[in-house]
């Protein structure tokens, strides 16, 4: 069809910047570049910087208050973990903001069909969107972590060990004592890994929802509903093993076993497997539904 409508399209296409897009990989790369740049240029992508800065400043003041009580000196990891390991922060602040930013990734304001013609394949279009989403998750994490690291660097020391206030009151970081077997850096690394996988899964769910309902509002609604189910599960006592189905057990660092065989919580590896399953299933569902998507129909 494309070849019939645009006879010379298969041979080579010149894009702004005079780049010859002759191979599928190059077309996909260009598609992702254009898509990511278009998203990140939107002013609302400044919100993570603002929100992370405000929250980091609030938590830094709280930490200074704790330090002045004479328990010991807090360090930068305390601030990072207080900001990002807090379940309420994840469910009420960072996840809604993330969903708000990525939920209209499917909407291209009538531009979708022309993009599809350029990438020349529905599968490539879908996987381009997945790559875009993955890059946006990374960008979102950087935009959140960057200001907190900057504020932590200016106000607290960097250390390789857990601080005394944290060791004396781990509950303030919403962490179980088992986490102290890890270094703060590796605990934070695991936290970022869980957040990245969780947000990628939720983003894929939103993408698939928007694609199936042809409306980004539904995608956002589904994402918020799953987020809300995590909030409800956090406050409820759901019987095992069904509790493991909810996202709160897999996105919050504090709800992990950390090698404790008696713990009711999953291990970090089990959570990674949980998110990998989400990602795998949603990739397939999205791929199949993209094959049937009517790109000419709006809304």
């Amino acid at each position: 069809m494309t070849r019939f409508m645009f006879p010379d399209f298969q041979r080579q296409t010149r894009m702004p910047g005079h780049e010859i897009l002759s191979t599928p990989a190059m077309r996909l790369r260009r598609f992702v570049q254009v898509d990511v740049a278009a998203r990140l240029r939107e002013r609302r992508w400044l919100l993570p910087l603002l929100v992370a800065s405000v929250i980091a400043l609030i938590f830094r003041n709280n930490l200074h208050g704790a330090t002045s009580q004479g328990i010991g000196q807090a360090n930068s990891w305390d601030l990072l973990l207080r900001v990002f390991a807090n379940p309420y922060g994840i469910f009420y602040c960072f996840t809604p903001l993330y969903l708000y930013l990525v939920s209209d990734l499917q909407s291209e304001s009538g531009f979708a069909e022309s993009l599809l013609l350029r990438v020349q394949s529905r599968s490539r279009w879908w996987f381009g969107k997945v790559i875009t989403l993955s890059l946006l998750v990374c960008a979102y994490l950087l935009l959140l972590i960057g200001p907190v690291v900057a504020i932590a660097t200016f106000s607290l020391p960097w250390e390789h060990t857990w601080s005394l206030p944290t060791l004396s009151e781990p509950i303030k970081l919403s962490l179980p004592p088992g986490v102290f077997a890890y270094t703060p850096a590796s605990a934070f690394g695991w936290l970022v890994c869980l957040l990245a996988m969780g947000w990628l899964s939720l983003g894929l769910l939103v993408l698939v929802g928007s694609q199936i309902f042809r409306d980004e509002k539904w995608g956002f609604g589904i994402g918020m509903l799953i987020n809300l189910s995590g909030v409800i599960a956090l406050h409820s006592q759901i019987a095992a093993p069904y509790d493991w189905l909810f996202i709160n057990y897999h996105i919050i660092l504090g709800t992990h076993a950390f090698g404790d065989a008696q713990s009711p919580y999953p291990s970090l590896a089990a959570s990674c497997l949980y998110w990998a399953t989400w990602i795998g299933v949603l990739l397939m569902v999205g791929w199949q539904s993209s094959k049937r998507r009517d790109f000419l129909r709006k809304g």
Binding site: I55, I58, Y92, D104, F220
Partner: protein, 265 residues
């Protein structure tokens, strides 16, 4: 113009969807209350579970998380839709822009307020059918703390005229719903993206709640307007100035940017 806008606001799938979401959230809360009521011992006080406490407890559950989306769903995105679909140009041939905006403002405010308050009135009707109308004032066995300072701005009414107290809660919810609907309308003057119009008030509500809670000003939480029993000591000072600020700020943006919206039509 007013009749058309009111018809569009109230006889729409979006209004129905808002009522459904509110209804589902309230049903979830009522079920939660009912689970306790199902195991009443014989020795329990007569009004241990009653129609008033059922409303208060139900209002304290997940519906408070959804209020902004319930308020903006009926009509807040209509300005963006009218502009992007070209409907606004057709309207301007028949009426003045000022009249169109006034009708839009009233329809949006009323539909937002009613989408939030209406289901609570229906809930009160249902709880009157399910539970006895009376209060359990024995503080040792109370499900809902009846001290006035624990019941929000109109807490003193609870013991004397509980029906009026519930109506005062409904009124507060109406004002809150109307304020968030206005916020949505204000966002619609800035962008044509209907998704952003619907999602922005909800996001701001949650971000503000989280930030205010961490600052230690729990009484000022946006939730307090809809579930004043969550925090002890919430008064009208914590509820109405915040809602007034949201409504007036939104109104200022709406009036200030509406001419730009017309130019883009």
């Amino acid at each position: 113009m007013f009749r058309t806008e009111f018809y569009r606001a109230f006889c729409s799938r979006s209004f129905l969807l808002a009522l459904l979401i509110a209804g589902a959230a309230l049903a979830f809360g009522l079920n939660d209350y009912g689970m306790y009521a199902g195991s009443i011992p014989d020795s329990a006080p007569q009004f241990l579970f009653n129609a008033y406490d059922a409303v208060v407890r139900t209002q304290n559950t997940i519906i408070a998380l959804f209020i902004p989306i319930i308020a903006v769903l009926p009509f807040a995105d209509s300005l963006a839709l009218d502009r992007s679909s070209g409907y606004l140009r057709s309207v301007l041939m028949r009426t003045s822009y000022k009249q169109y905006l006034s009708a839009k403002l009233f329809a949006c405010t009323l539909s937002g307020g009613l989408a939030v308050a209406g289901p609570i009135i229906i809930l009160f009707g249902i709880t009157n059918l399910l539970y006895p109308r009376g209060l359990n004032l024995n503080e040792a066995t109370q499900i809902v703390i009846s001290a006035p300072e624990a019941l929000g701005p109109f807490g003193t009414l609870y013991r004397t005229t509980p029906d009026l107290y519930i109506m005062a809660l409904v009124f507060t919810c109406f004002i809150g719903g109307a304020s968030y609907a206005l916020l949505g309308l204000a966002v619609a003057t800035i962008t044509d993206n209907r998704y952003l119009v619907l999602a922005t008030p909800l996001l701001l509500y949650h971000l503000a709640s989280y930030t205010i809670a961490n600052l230690g000003f729990s009484r000022w939480l946006p939730y307090s307007a809809f579930a004043p029993q969550v925090v002890i000591g919430v008064t009208w000072v914590h509820v109405f100035p915040t809602l007034a600020a949201i409504a007036l700020g939104s109104l200022a943006v709406f009036i200030g940017l509406a001419p730009r919206a017309k130019a883009q039509a």
